[in-house]
Symmetry: C2
Subunit: 457 residues, 2 copies
């Protein structure tokens, strides 16, 4: 029925209609229209029979009335009105994003509406994202149908990470975190009830999308496992694909829905599918975010050997503990490197792995330690844990570390725990292109994710 | 030799000498002197034979020259000068905090100095904290010997949590995080090489300290296990005691120091000791911080049954997954509660556990759900996961939740993941007395910690 992978209307539209457009900026359609006016570079057509003009733009009574076919229609109508509107639009819009809720997630009546929507899409050959979703946030095309005001949820800048998510709130929250931390994205898709476009369609598109360097997926359920595995396998052959599946356990979900065994057992199937498709399995939100930051900024490590450089002895040992717990190794310094470092550093530096530069640490001592330990084939990646107490440490540190003398392909992971001053330093590392984390454990989780797979971004 | 538990000179001193005082605010002694002038309410005596006056205070050539005995002397001298200075001070100062490094941690020469310091302390009956430490930060007495400038490391306000730590940098970093997040502390002690005062001495004091409601300990090594277990047991009998031991694994530490078996095996001994002493075992920095926030603001839960209330379906399921993974249970709603909620809420709310108030959530819907589910004996604690996208949600939410109608002793744990807007809300929860976390996993870790033990603060 649908031409496979004809999603370009969603990701490079030149014209967009907002159906149900209104002046009210507090309403969904208002938020979307304002976002489009801010960032979308193509033609924007408000559609609403009640207005002649919305936000200074000519408003049309229907999509058909626009006169020429458009690429994308965003539906922000009450659920009951959506199937008919999509049907009436006929072939006038190639793609439709239905952000409205009130479909299958609400019971039998909504399920009937969802079936009608599906039929309208099929009979008009319209591809549909949604319903019950946030739609698309795209830094390449400037499209933003996420209807949460920017005061509450920041939008990330341009980057290479794409996120596809069944849950709108999960996508929104992750986007907001990435934006605050200064990590960019390429495309974010929230597809909700996926009446048509699903994760496999998105993976097909993203596999061939040159703007997308890595893909992170949030999954509640997958209906067509074989198709998913095929699409994910094609994508993971060329770029990192990571996924979190929620609704794993016997406890929460099944206690609530009283079908324990079914759900608890099923996670093993997802895990096997991820493995088969070359997907990195992530365990929950925290892991998801760590992985987004890691592959949003850097490439895979070639192995599991971690070097730890710090100015806080306790943190260094804590990181070494966490590495061991997460299956990474922390090999001691090779003899020649140890001798060289001992000759160069004051006697009270703790020369080993972890390497402790103490409270006397300087930007230069970090950079020197980095270059001496990471040149040669002794380690696959490095965690640099900078506590900002040492007075000689300056904001030049991230840039100095990012120069990577002699080991261009090994990931440098920064760890900078602490309060306001340290938290503000996270963005400096990100601006220098180094993923940075607030806790030793998060930094080690990032190292673990980067050790799974062999992708070069 | 030492009178047991005579640590009052450290925690309620009425006079303090700073030995090695200087005008240079960038120097250790300068930072300490400035902190004391800001917050310490007793008499302050700079000591340095080279000056007559420091920062407007009369400066004395020696402690003996002050003329009357003082409670506490803070030594910020080069290591080589410390043992003699402590000896010469004789009984003129009851307690000494030696912040200087350059002792046993640096090799045989430093070890000899440490031995001399120990002998000077013994022969003059002076109790000593340190050397190679940050000393004391105390919101009760106003004492602050931590020598990191406040621009880089914030100081927490007054609270009930006390922290004792072998590692200065670990204590500093945790303090800084707590300060930024608005969690107060009572006493923080960094004792470094513990030539005299150790964790057992501190536990003895804190067990009887009415200002201390909970104790968190960072441990690298314990020398006298029996004494530690005795002191910790007395303390944990009356208030929560939590501990992290770093240097657990075969990998990092022992690879560096090449005595794998010894160290790896030893962690089992620590774990057994913690269990025997009624100590909550924490796994690394992240866990430590979560536990400090949890017991810094709330009491134990009476069991492991968790209710989850959220406005983000995906987050709710994620939290339920994490509960199961961490040994907590998420029982379904009792029938009568479910009926009552269904009658009160719109049909599209997800009524169950997790309870999903969706994007239509209001402050009132959260508060209503809280009171209906937490009254009665169905749950031991609740995780409230608020995503801030829903426009009706306001900054009144934390205060409304904190009123706890009908279930005063059950912990309410907040979870508010996201970017800048959400992160700024964390302090609002803390000001309302509810511990709040940035990720579902951290919130569940807090729930897990609170379920271990039965303390009422």
């Amino acid at each position: 029925m649908h031409k496979k992978n004809n999603l370009s209307a969603f990701f490079s539209p030149s014209s967009i209609a907002v159906v149900g457009a209104s002046e009210a900026t507090g309403k969904i359609s208002g938020v979307i229209l304002e976002s489009l006016r801010n960032s979308f570079r193509g033609a924007i057509y408000p559609v609403n029979p009640r207005y002649n003009e919305v936000m200074g733009l000519k408003c049309y009574p229907s999509i058909e009335a626009i006169g020429s076919p458009i690429d994308l229609a965003v539906y922000a109508l009450p659920a009951g009105a959506v199937p008919e509107a999509v049907f009436n639009a006929g072939g006038s819009a190639k793609g439709a994003v239905v952000v409205s809720g009130g479909f299958a997630e609400t019971g039998p009546k909504g399920a009937a509406l969802e079936k009608a929507l599906k039929e309208a899409a099929r009979s008009t050959a319209t591809r549909v994202i949604g319903p019950n979703c946030m739609g698309i946030y795209d830094t390449v095309s400037g499209l933003d149908t996420f209807f949460i005001p920017r005061e509450r949820v920041q939008r990330p800048g341009r980057g290479g990470l794409s996120i596809i998510s069944q849950s709108g709130s999960f996508a929104v929250t992750a986007m907001d975190e990435l934006a605050t931390d200064g990590i960019g994205v390429a495309r974010v898709v929230s597809y909700g009830n996926k009446v048509d476009v699903d994760e496999a369609d998105c993976l097909d598109f993203l596999a061939e999308d040159p703007e997308t360097k890595a893909v992170a997926i949030y999954i509640e359920s997958i209906e067509n496992g074989r198709r998913f595995i095929e699409a994910a396998s094609r994508c993971s052959a060329v770029k990192p694909v990571m996924a979190v599946k929620v609704g794993k356990g016997a406890s929460g979900i099944s206690a609530a829905r009283s079908h324990t065994g079914a759900i608890a057992g099923r996670y093993e199937i997802y895990r096997a599918a991820f493995k088969k498709a070359g997907i990195i399995e992530l365990n929950g939100y925290e892991d998801f975010l760590v992985a987004c930051k890691a592959f949003g900024l850097t490439s895979s490590a070639a192995g599991k050997r971690v070097m730890i450089i710090t100015d806080g002895g306790g943190m260094g040992v804590n990181i070494a503990d966490a590495c061991e717990q997460m299956g990474l190794s922390v090999p001691g310094l090779p003899e020649e490197v140890e001798e060289e470092l001992r000759a160069a550093f004051p006697s009270y530096y703790g020369v080993g792995n972890p390497l402790d530069l103490t409270g006397s640490a300087t930007d230069e001592s970090f950079a020197f330690a980095l270059s001496k330990t990471m040149s040669g084939d002794f380690y696959d990646m490095v965690i640099v844990a900078a506590l900002w107490g040492p007075p000689a440490l300056t904001d030049k540190l991230p840039g100095m570390l990012a120069q990577k003398p002699g080991f261009t392909e090994k990931p440098i992971i920064a760890c900078t725990p602490g309060g306001a001053y340290s938290r503000d330093r996270i963005r400096l590392f990100h601006e220098a292109g180094l993923p940075a984390f607030s806790t030793p454990e998060a930094a080690v989780r990032a190292a673990s994710v980067l050790s799974k797979g062999r992708w070069r971004l």
